[in-house]
């Protein structure tokens, strides 16, 4: 119980910081980057529930991001639903899609599971590109209406910033509650030893399906918010490279860490921005590939040296460092 207070202070500090940032940052582009970080945080939290807690690899999480984005776009722009209704409906549909797709997918394990989720993402992109009449094809879907609640229309970046971060904090709260419960324990137990969890009555398959559906629902929500924030979506925002980026975010954040998701998302979004802005000059002619090379390398380095992720693993390494150990010993003596 002792650890609760600092976490609550950190949470409060975060909320205050998030509330005042738009007052300090007047640059719309930077606000937009912060919106992206929030969207990616929602995606990363879900992925870390699936990968870090339940231990099930998913290399196709961007699929559900895309399902949510396109469902929101279609429901609001094509079928004329109010955007405020299209968003939760899209999230619900995406959760359902996650559950149903999970049924065949979770018959597989390990590398096969990784390949199947990757394949799912590839097929999804093919559908987006080929079903142009519905999806707009490779050039995408435009004129997605902004969200409106009552008299308030979220038509500026700052308004959207507050909305997306409010939703993100809600998602973090829900996730923390799940993680610190009977359900979170069951998920971690499945990760540690599926046979033992089953032998104690945990229906491992049901838990995998439900956590996958929950993560898909979050991703659908993130997709809908993303579509409503930028009013335009195209297949490249949801392809396998994005899935790999999401895995990198989860790994940087510490796979089994809810708070770490913000850190992972922020690090990767800012790094990607930096690469796009600066490296293009160094590597003339290169486009998206340089990013994926950097993230691929980052992912490999983290997985090899800090398998618990950058935050958790980094803290462990820091604690084990001779200097920190001596400092602590000195502190404990006094």
């Amino acid at each position: 119980m002792k650890t609760v207070a600092p976490a609550q202070w950190a949470g409060l500090g975060l909320v205050i910081a998030l509330a005042v940032i738009p007052l300090l940052v007047r640059n719309n582009y930077q606000i937009f980057i912060l919106i992206l970080i929030a969207v990616d945080t929602i995606l990363t939290v879900g992925l870390s529930l699936v990968m870090g807690y339940a231990g099930q690899v998913s290399l196709g999480h961007a699929t559900f991001f895309g399902v949510g984005a396109y469902a929101t776009a279609l429901l609001s722009a094509r079928f004329g639903w109010p955007p405020a209704l299209a968003l939760p409906a899209a999230a619900g549909l995406t959760a359902l899609a996650g559950y149903l797709l999970g049924v065949p997918i979770f018959r597989l394990r390990g590398h096969y599971l990784a390949m199947a989720t990757l394949g799912l993402n590839v097929i999804f992109i093919l559908i987006l590109k080929n079903e142009a009449e519905v999806t707009g094809g490779p050039s995408g879907f435009t004129d997605i209406p902004p969200l409106a609640l009552g008299g308030l229309t979220f038509d500026s970046d700052v308004k959207m910033y507050y909305l997306v971060w409010a939703v993100t904090l809600g998602v973090l709260w829900l996730s923390l509650n799940v993680v610190n419960s009977r359900v979170g324990r069951a998920l971690r137990a499945i990760h540690a030893s599926e046979v033992a969890a089953e032998a104690l009555g945990v229906d491992a398959n049901a838990y995998k399906l439900k956590v996958f559906a929950m993560a898909a629902g979050f991703a659908g929500l993130a997709g809908g918010l993303y579509a409503q924030a930028i009013h335009f979506i195209s297949p490249s925002s949801f392809d396998v490279l994005v899935s790999i980026e999401l895995v990198t975010m989860a790994a940087v954040g510490g796979l089994a860490s809810v708070w770490g998701s913000i850190f992972g998302a922020a690090t990767v979004v800012l790094l990607a921005q930096f690469i796009r802005d600066r490296m293009g000059v160094l590597l003339a002619g290169a486009s998206g590939e340089q990013e994926i090379i950097v993230f691929g390398l980052l992912l490999v380095v983290i997985m090899v040296f800090l398998p618990e992720g950058l935050t958790v693993g980094g803290l462990r390494v820091l604690r084990a460092w001779p200097i920190t150990r001596r400092l602590r010993a000195a502190r404990d003596q006094t």
Binding site: R185, A197, D203
Partner: protein, 262 residues
């Protein structure tokens, strides 16, 4: 209610070409301690695996407490009250010692995804109660002092005890222990001996796989001997120890002078 808690008839299990269990029949009576013994590779663990649903069996039927459980998923069999431990420890190493036992309470608690996510009324009370009960089960095996340590950091012998505590927390009707004494020191084995007696006294039926013959012959009400996947003999400890085939295949002469684990 019949006196037979578990009845296995003509169970078979092969791995590729290896016939691990061949037409074994077992009948476990309510309240007894039943020991399954035999040389390495005789098929004891495989028998556990196919009865508990950890592995699917090839043929045969298993009736537990009036339910046909062959072909059922392990978690369903557990829900009927059949809980087992593992010879090759299956501790949740990344969870704390207490959390391991709390997972043992899984079947007796209800919080699901939605109620947990929304902190539904009652979730916190259930969590508190689960914690308290888990702590009590830790006390039964003497691990209550290490509740908050990562389970993976416990020494081997204590991990075995933790597996037993975790299984007890599930409140089984039938507890199946696969080599609980393996790797334990002599004092630890003595403590295990009295622990198993206490569990039996609580009304739990026990199936025990063990190589430590002093422990087995002292505890068991009945013993079955497996050899190359077949049942060689069964009966009271005295009957089995007197059986020529058992002596030839497994016990040898003067087994009691050389316990399997020093």
């Amino acid at each position: 209610m019949s006196d037979t808690l578990l009845q296995a008839r003509q169970i078979y299990k092969a791995f590729g070409g290896v016939q691990a269990v061949t037409g074994v029949d077992l009948a476990i009576q309510r309240g007894e301690i039943f020991a399954l013994i035999g040389p390495n590779g005789a098929g004891k663990t495989t028998t556990f695996n196919v009865i508990s649903g950890t592995h699917a069996l090839d043929q045969g039927e298993v009736i537990f407490d009036g339910h046909a459980i062959h072909g059922q998923a392990a978690h369903r069999i557990a829900a009927l009250g059949l809980v087992r431990t593992f010879q090759n420890l299956q501790i949740f190493g990344t969870l704390t010692v207490l959390e391991n036992v709390m997972v043992g309470r899984h079947m007796h608690t209800r919080t699901g995804f939605v109620t947990a996510a929304l902190r539904w009324p009652g979730v916190r009370a259930e969590e508190r109660e689960t914690r308290a009960r888990a702590q009590a089960y830790l006390k039964v095996v003497g691990l209550d002092g290490r509740a908050d340590e990562p389970a993976g950091s416990l020494p081997f012998g204590q991990q075995r005890l933790l597996e037993i505590a975790r299984a007890l927390a599930a409140e089984p009707k039938l507890l199946m222990l696969d080599e609980p004494a393996a790797g334990l020191t002599r004092p630890e084995i003595d403590a295990l001996n009295s622990l198993i007696r206490r569990i039996q006294a609580e009304g739990v039926t026990i199936v025990l796989v063990e190589h430590d013959m002093n422990l087995v012959m002292g505890l068991a009400n009945r013993v079955a001997v497996l050899h190359y996947g077949r049942k060689l003999a069964d009966g009271t400890p005295a009957e089995v120890q007197a059986d020529e085939r058992v002596i030839g295949a497994y016990l040898g002469v003067g087994w009691d002078a050389a316990p399997a684990y020093a």
